[in-house]
C-alpha cells in the first residue's frame, strides 16, 4: 500500500515538475552538477522535447553517486538521443506533430542499441500506435542475434495479422524459444516457424 501511494504521488508530481525538473532534483542532484543539468533540461523544454527521461537520468546518476561530470554527460547524452529520436519520428510520421510518447519511446529504443532504420521502419508500420512494445520486441530479437531486418519483417507481419501492443513482445519470446529448442535450427528457420504460427503465438503466464 505504501509503495502504491509513493508511486501514485510520484506519478502525480511528475507532470507538474517535469517542465524544469527543478523541484524533483533539488536536494538529490549534487550541487556541482545541478546548474548544468538544469540548463540541459531547459534546452529540452525550449525544443519541445520530453524532459522526464532527462530528470530520471539525473535522479538515477545521483542515486548511484556518479561523479558530477559523468552525471552531466549522461544527461546530455539523453538530450542528444531525444533529438535523434525526434528526427526519426518526424521522418516516419510526417506532416503531424509527434504523437505523445513516441519520442521518448524511440529514444529508449536507441539507448538499447536498436538501429535507426529499424526503428523508422517499425514506426511506419503503425504510426499512430504506441511504438514501445514493437521497438522492444525488435531489440529483444536483435539482442538474441536475430538479423535486424528479418526481425522487423516478422514484427511487421505480426502487426498485419492483428497483433498489437505487448502481444508483439510474445512474438520475440516465441522466436527465442524456437531458437533455443535446439536441433540445429538457425535463426532464420526459427523466425520462419514463428511467422507460420502468426497470429497464434503463445501468451506468457500471468505473474
Amino acid at each position: 500500500m505504501m509503495l502504491r501511494l509513493a508511486l501514485a504521488l510520484a506519478l502525480v508530481a511528475a507532470p507538474v515538475a517535469s517542465q524544469t525538473g527543478g523541484p524533483r532534483l533539488a536536494g538529490r542532484v549534487p550541487a556541482a552538477a545541478l546548474p548544468a543539468i538544469d540548463s540541459i533540461i531547459a534546452t529540452a523544454v525550449a525544443e519541445s522535447l520530453p524532459t522526464e527521461p532527462l530528470v530520471q537520468k539525473a535522479l538515477e546518476g545521483s542515486a548511484k553517486n556518479v561523479p558530477a561530470d559523468r552525471l552531466v554527460n549522461g544527461v546530455r547524452r539523453g538530450l542528444l538521443q531525444l533529438r535523434a529520436a525526434r528526427v526519426i519520428v518526424a521522418r516516419a510520421v510526417p506532416g503531424q506533430s509527434p504523437p505523445e510518447g513516441h519520442v521518448a519511446a524511440v529514444s529508449a529504443a536507441l539507448a538499447r542499441g536498436l538501429p535507426a532504420p529499424i526503428v523508422e521502419r517499425l514506426l511506419t508500420v503503425a504510426p499512430n500506435e504506441p511504438p514501445g512494445p514493437a521497438l522492444h520486441a525488435a531489440a529483444d530479437l536483435i539482442a538474441h542475434h536475430f538479423d535486424p531486418d528479418s526481425a522487423a519483417d516478422l514484427l511487421a507481419d505480426a502487426h498485419t495479422k492483428g497483433l498489437r501492443g505487448v502481444r508483439l513482445l510474445d512474438v520475440a519470446v516465441a522466436a527465442d524459444h524456437e531458437l533455443q529448442r535446439g536441433g540445429g535450427r538457425t535463426p532464420s528457420e526459427a523466425l520462419a516457424h514463428v511467422r507460420a504460427l502468426l497470429p497464434n503465438v503463445p501468451a506468457p503466464n500471468r505473474p
Partner: protein
C-alpha cells in the same frame, strides 16, 4: 353489576314457580337456565384431543418401520424454526461472513492493479545478504521504497509491486551499497554514465491484457 331481582332469584333457587314471573323476567329465567345447562354439560373434546385419539386408534405405519427409516423420515420432515436475532447481531454476523469470504477468495497478495498497471515480480539470489531493495525509474530512483524479502533465509529474495504499465529501468541495491543489475531481467540497457554499467529493463504489461 345490577342486583338480580328477588323473584327471579327465588325462581332460580326453586322456591318460586317460574310461571308466576312477569314476561321479561321469564325470558331472563329461560336464558339463565339454558346457560346453566351448557356449563354443566360434559365438555367437548378439543381438536388436539380428537386428533391424538384418532392417531392412537390408527397407529402410523412409520412405527412399524425400522429405526433408520424413522430417523430419515424425521430428518426429512419440514419443521418450523424460529430464530430471534437483534439487528445489531445480524449486521455483525453479515460483516463477519463477508470478511471470511474476502479472506478466502480475495487476491492473495493484496495487489490489485488498475487497467494501466501491472504486477512486477522481483526475484534475486543473494545468499548472505542482509538487505536487498529495488531502485528504479518507477520510484524516481529513491532508496527505501521497495524492499525484497527472504523470509525463509534461503538466499532467494523476492518482492511484488504494482507498477505503471510500460518500460522501467531498475537495479538491485544489496546491503545498502552494492548496485547489481537483475541477473534474471533478460533485458538490459547501458546506463549512459560512461562506466559500462547496465540497468535491468522491465516491461510491465497492463493487467487488462494479461492472459
Amino acid at each position: 353489576m345490577s342486583p338480580i331481582d328477588p323473584r327471579l332469584q327465588e325462581a332460580l333457587d326453586g322456591e318460586r314457580d317460574p310461571g308466576e314471573l312477569p314476561m321479561d323476567q321469564r325470558e331472563a329465567y329461560d336464558r339463565l337456565i339454558a346457560a346453566t345447562q351448557v356449563l354443566t354439560a360434559a365438555p367437548q373434546l378439543s381438536v388436539a384431543a380428537r386428533v391424538m385419539a384418532e392417531i392412537q386408534q390408527n397407529p402410523a405405519p412409520a412405527l412399524a418401520q425400522g429405526p433408520m427409516r424413522r430417523v430419515m423420515r424425521w430428518l426429512g420432515r419440514p419443521r418450523a424454526v424460529t430464530l430471534r436475532l437483534r439487528p445489531v447481531w445480524t449486521l455483525a454476523l453479515a460483516a463477519g461472513l463477508a470478511t471470511i469470504i474476502l479472506l478466502l477468495w480475495g487476491p492473495g497478495d493484496g495487489l490489485t492493479p488498475g487497467r494501466a498497471e501491472g504486477i512486477a515480480n522481483f526475484v534475486g539470489h543473494f545468499p548472505g545478504a542482509r538487505s536487498v531493495e529495488v531502485v528504479g525509474s518507477f520510484n524516481d530512483w529513491s532508496r527505501g521504497v521497495l524492499h525484497l524479502n527472504d523470509d525463509d533465509g534461503d538466499g532467494i529474495w523476492h518482492a511484488k509491486a504494482v507498477l505503471p504499465a510500460g518500460q522501467h529501468e531498475y537495479m538491485f541495491v544489496v546491503d545498502g551499497e552494492r548496485w547489481v543489475p537483475d541477473p534474471l531481467a533478460g533485458r538490459y540497457v547501458d546506463d549512459g554514465f560512461g562506466a559500462g554499467q547496465q540497468n535491468a529493463l522491465l516491461i510491465v504489461r497492463p493487467a487488462a491484457v494479461q492472459p
